[in-house]
Symmetry: C2
């Protein structure tokens, strides 16, 4: 049993803090307190604050790279299913790191004005799941809501009308559990 490395403790503490308050919202002091060492000790093990983040995300990025490379040798249909299953697995395996990327949101949403947004989004979600509300239905609803916002976020090249039609059609497809 090797000694518990301070370096690993730093990575673990940083992952928790980044996931909770985001990268910009977390200071080296915060991490040092959780680890139980000085701020200077962090910068002895890592060149900078960003170096902590990049080393933390390196395994996830490497797996994403492997997945993308694996798709290149497949036909269209096989590539599609491999992309879906590979991405889902990867995302689930690196949930913590995903939270780091999305982690700056909670800092904003903890303001009382935005707490209401979370509540109303939940009511939207209930409308989408319908009265049944199986776990799979909840996942589908969440996927639609978050995916729609994300599409609007970085699909600036499409017109509103095109986006609207495509989004509504895609959402309808997700939310009809009768399709096999």
């Amino acid at each position: 049993m090797v000694r518990s490395n301070t370096r690993d403790e730093i990575l673990a503490a940083a992952a928790r803090q980044f996931a909770r308050a985001g990268f910009k919202g977390t200071s080296l002091h915060d991490i040092a307190v959780e680890v139980g060492c000085s701020k200077a000790a962090l910068l002895y093990h890592f060149d900078s604050k960003e170096a902590i983040l990049t080393e933390m995300c390196a395994p996830a990025i490497a797996e994403l790279r492997e997945l993308a490379a694996r798709l290149a040798g497949l036909g269209p249909h096989a590539a599609r299913t491999a992309a879906i299953e590979g991405f889902v697995d990867l995302v689930l395996r690196y949930r913590k790191e995903i939270q780091v990327i999305y982690g700056d949101l909670p800092g904003l949403l903890q303001q009382p004005e935005f707490l209401e947004v979370h509540l109303m989004t939940q009511r939207l979600q209930e409308a989408l799941t319908g009265p049944s509300g199986s776990p799979a239905a909840h996942v589908a609803a969440k996927l639609v809501l978050a995916g729609t916002a994300a599409v609007a976020f970085d699909c600036i090249d499409y017109s509103d009308d095109d986006l609207r039609a495509a989004l509504i059609a895609a959402a309808a497809r997700v939310l009809t559990p009768e399709a096999s």
Copy 2:
């Protein structure tokens, strides 16, 4: 024609800056430079930096509140379609504000280590759309990728196995354009 109000210019400039660098990544100085006034002028018109953000997002939040209230008086099926269409319209109408919420990401992803992530995500997306690549297919693929990550982000209550099955099934539903 009323005078172009400094207050409105501040809101517009803040929206652009927040969308580009995120809330935490934007300083009052940045906004003041773009407006062409002093930092103190911002704090004359608004109580604080956060007050700029909340006032900027107030219309979007109000519309979300109206949408949620409208759903309460509908049956399950009507509520579902109203939720989809209403949310899509709302998201498209307030794209800028959505970018503010998601805006802290670019600050991270501009690091060279994460630039590769964007490239590989695009290759995943191409695998999902298949060789056709219609705009609707691209929207569906983006919705799946971003939605999956978001589900993993805030569905900590479900087990990995449940999430995996539900996500793959939902993704398959979105990506089969033969369903009506």
